[in-house]
């Protein structure tokens, strides 16, 4: 079955061109040119991935992103013409998984989309445990479930992948570059801000006190590692 893509972009030429390109790459695109109708279209289309322009009429891409994130973990890739850190970080913090800067190469975009659609080939019944022993974070990889203190934590697929990547090798320190490659599927070194922002988002969900993390630890000058199991 072809993966469905919801393209939220007000530039009709770009949307049409994206459509041509996506169809030729084996996707099934749907379009919405207006931010205020994006959420309705999202509920209707039920896409596997969303391409979201940040500058939209009606409702800003940031708000659309928040609205979608509030009800679904569906991968969102921002299309942005702005390269300023503020804009990118704001987009990522509002819940986008990844971003591509216009003008992007079509292959780059499809690679990112495929990386977001790719799921771990789960070895049956794997469960992982990290964090402090008195309050561990339990991960059921197959069921895509994270539990801490008896409560289920709802993570987006990306956050889940990030957590699993760290939890699978609890003693290893991951550089941001390695995480980018393993979780986001980047072959070349790219923007490490992606990692920083998503680690923050992940911490805000799994940590008891995000200011003093116990599950996802920072290793100064190197990167991150999982807290002791």
């Amino acid at each position: 079955m072809k993966p469905r893509v919801l393209v939220v972009d007000d530039d009709s030429s770009l949307a049409e061109m994206l459509g041509i390109m996506l169809r030729s790459e084996g996707f099934e695109p749907a379009f919405v040119p207006d931010g205020s109708r994006a959420l309705a279209a999202f509920r209707e289309v039920k896409p596997d991935v969303v391409l979201l322009d940040l500058m939209l009429p009606g409702m800003s891409g940031i708000d659309v992103c928040r609205a979608i994130r509030a009800e679904s973990g569906t991968p969102i890739i921002m299309l942005t013409a702005k390269t300023d850190t503020v804009d990118i970080v704001l987009g990522l913090e509002s819940g986008a998984d990844d971003y591509v800067v216009k003008p992007f190469k079509p292959k780059e975009l499809t690679a990112r989309m495929r990386a977001r659609l790719r799921r771990y080939d789960e070895a049956g019944g794997e469960t992982l445990q990290i964090g402090p022993p008195e309050s561990p974070v339990g991960i059921d990889v197959q069921a895509h479930q994270v539990v801490r203190d008896g409560e289920q934590i709802s993570l987006t697929p990306l956050e889940f992948d990030l957590l699993v990547a760290l939890a699978r090798k609890p003693r290893q320190v991951f550089t941001r570059e390695v995480l980018l490659e393993q979780v986001w599927g980047y072959r070349h070194a790219a923007d490490t801000r992606l990692v920083n922002v998503h680690v923050q988002r992940l911490r805000s969900k799994v940590e008891r006190d995000p200011e003093r993390p116990e599950v996802v630890l920072t290793v100064r000058g190197v990167g991150y590692k999982a807290g002791p199991p």
Partner: protein, 547 residues
């Protein structure tokens, strides 16, 4: 061994100990006085008020001293002159009385003479009454045989000089110490001597006037002048300090306000009251501040407009460029089906799109710097990781050029607080530049570090730089040799952006080059973002050039 020798202090050690004690004392003195001196000299240099008050006090003190000395001198002279005149006229009255006593006596009548002398010496009161002040004593000496020699008070010597003058028959006056019965010892005095020539013989009559009262008067005058002078000096010092303070205080306020203005508090103003010169200073200062504030706000607005424009251009250009890019890629993907001219056209289109994009990206980046909108996103990272990434990213280009790319990263981690994205961009630019100009010879990358800074050098052994070009390479769109084509199709902005990237870290980006010997680019960064930087751990010039 002699026990005494054991206990006696050896001379050399004693001298050494004394010397040591002295040294300690001198040191302690220096320690104590030097800070005080330094403080004094510092406040002397800093405080206009102190300087003006001190100078005024010194000058006034000198003038008051001169006037006081002059006054005391004049008054003293006047008082003594009056005393002398009065004494002389008193003495001449006494002479008349003495002459009357000797009336009718002969030189042989010793008893009569003795009586007359007693009369004269015993009764000076008649003369005193007319003088009206001080004790008056007389003394008579018969010059011929010393037979009648009445002395009052006992032991009062008469200066020889005075006697000689009287011997010659003249009235003589001399200041000399005199004795009085009322006071022990001698007091300053005046002696008036005159010859008394009678039929009974030649006598000398001396009047002694103590100057005690005059001395008292003069002492009083001196004290009064001294106290008045001191009071005057103090008054002048206080006035000087007060007046200077009135002038200095507004100047200090202006200086403080100027300091705050310079520190960025653009709405700082001076409170102006009155219409004097000081108020004028305040008004002019405030006018200047107003005009500065307006200029700065105008420039800030311009900068905001520029930033906004950059952002808008970015968005407006990038969206259609994305569409073009996708269309071109689509055409490029199926160029095998096209006629050769069409296929080549599509290739050119795609390649030039790449160039156009990087040029656009660089232009936007540099205009962001020009607008002052660039910010650091620092993090503690191992510089070697960034170098490694940049080197591996440059390997394909090195392969195309047939250049060997070597990296000496050292063994220790080199942690510094940098914006990894910008530093990697700098290194990619430096590597691309070096590979472009390497002419097939190897390119070497080195990482070095010391306590305060980290450095990366990129060295090629290619065409190098002509003298003076090392300063030009960072200029926008500068090309060393216009006839050389660029394989990488650089935008001409790479090194200019790199320089801005490094400057944002408060670091250095420097170039060295010699014709035919290659070029070295060195990036030096402080370990802590914005930290001070005074030296680089790696030399800019290659060692063999220095040797």
């Amino acid at each position: 061994m002699n026990p005494a020798a054991r206990w006696a202090p050896r001379p050399d050690t004693l001298a050494a100990r004394v010397h040591q004690h002295l040294q300690t004392a001198v040191d302690r003195l220096n320690h104590r006085s030097r800070p005080a001196l330094t403080r004094l000299s510092a406040s002397w240099r800093r405080s206009l008020q102190l300087r003006v008050a001190t100078t005024t006090t010194l000058v006034t003190g000198l003038i008051v001293l001169l006037i006081g000395v002059f006054l005391v001198d004049q008054i003293g002279k006047g008082v003594l002159k009056a005393k002398r005149d009065a004494s002389i006229s008193q003495a001449s009255l006494g002479l008349d009385a003495a002459l009357a006593q000797f009336e009718g006596l002969t030189p042989g009548d010793l008893n009569g003479i003795r009586q007359a002398v007693d009369q004269i010496t015993a009764n000076p009161a008649s003369a005193t009454a007319t003088l009206g002040a001080g004790d008056l004593f007389t003394k008579v000496i018969r010059s011929a045989d010393q037979a009648v020699n009445r002395q009052l008070p006992v032991g009062q010597p008469i200066p020889d000089e005075l006697r000689r003058q009287v011997d010659r028959g003249a009235v003589a006056v001399q200041y000399a110490p005199v004795r009085t019965p009322s006071q022990p010892g001698e007091v300053p005095g005046l002696i008036v001597g005159q010859p008394v020539n009678t039929q009974a013989g030649a006598f000398e009559l001396y009047y002694l006037f103590p100057l005690t009262a005059e001395q008292k008067t003069l002492g009083l005058v001196q004290r009064t002048v001294l106290i008045a002078g001191l009071a005057l000096v103090l008054l002048v010092a206080a006035i000087a300090a007060l007046v200077t303070r009135q002038v200095v205080r507004p100047v200090r306020v202006a200086a403080q306000t100027a300091g705050r203005l310079a520190g960025g508090a653009l709405s700082e103003r001076i409170k102006v009251s009155g219409a004097d010169d000081i108020a004028l200073l305040g008004e002019s200062f405030n006018d200047m501040a107003n005009s500065l504030q307006q200029q700065i706000q105008r420039l800030e607005n311009l900068s905001r407009v520029q930033q906004r424009f950059t952002s808008d251009v970015s968005h407006e250009l990038r969206t259609p460029l994305t569409t073009i890019r996708m269309a071109a890629e689509l055409l490029h993907g199926s160029r095998e089906d096209f006629a050769p001219e069409l296929a080549r056209s599509v290739e050119l289109l795609t390649n030039e799109l790449d160039r156009f994009e990087s040029l656009l990206a660089d232009l936007l980046e540099i205009s962001r710097y020009d607008a002052g909108a660039a910010h650091l996103e620092t993090d503690q990272v191992d510089i070697r990781g960034i170098v490694e990434r940049a080197v591996s990213a440059a390997q394909p280009l090195a392969g195309r050029h047939g250049v060997e790319l070597r990296a000496d990263l050292g063994d220790e981690p080199v942690i510094a607080e940098v914006d990894a994205r910008r530093i990697e961009r700098v290194l990619r630019n430096l590597l691309g530049n070096a590979l472009d100009h390497a002419e097939g010879r190897p390119v070497a990358v080195r990482v070095g570090a010391d306590e305060a800074s980290v450095a990366v050098t990129v060295r090629d052994e290619g065409v190098g730089l002509r003298p003076g070009e090392a300063a030009l390479v960072f200029n926008r769109f500068w090309r060393g040799d216009p006839s050389r084509s660029r394989l990488t199709g650089g935008t001409g902005l790479g090194l200019a952006i790199s320089l801005e990237d490094v400057r944002l870290h408060h670091g250095w980006l420097q170039a060295w080059g010699a014709r035919g010997r290659g070029a070295v680019f060195r990036m030096t960064l402080p370990r802590v973002a914005g930290g001070p930087l005074d030296s680089s751990p790696l030399p800019l010039e290659p060692p063999e050039v220095l040797a």
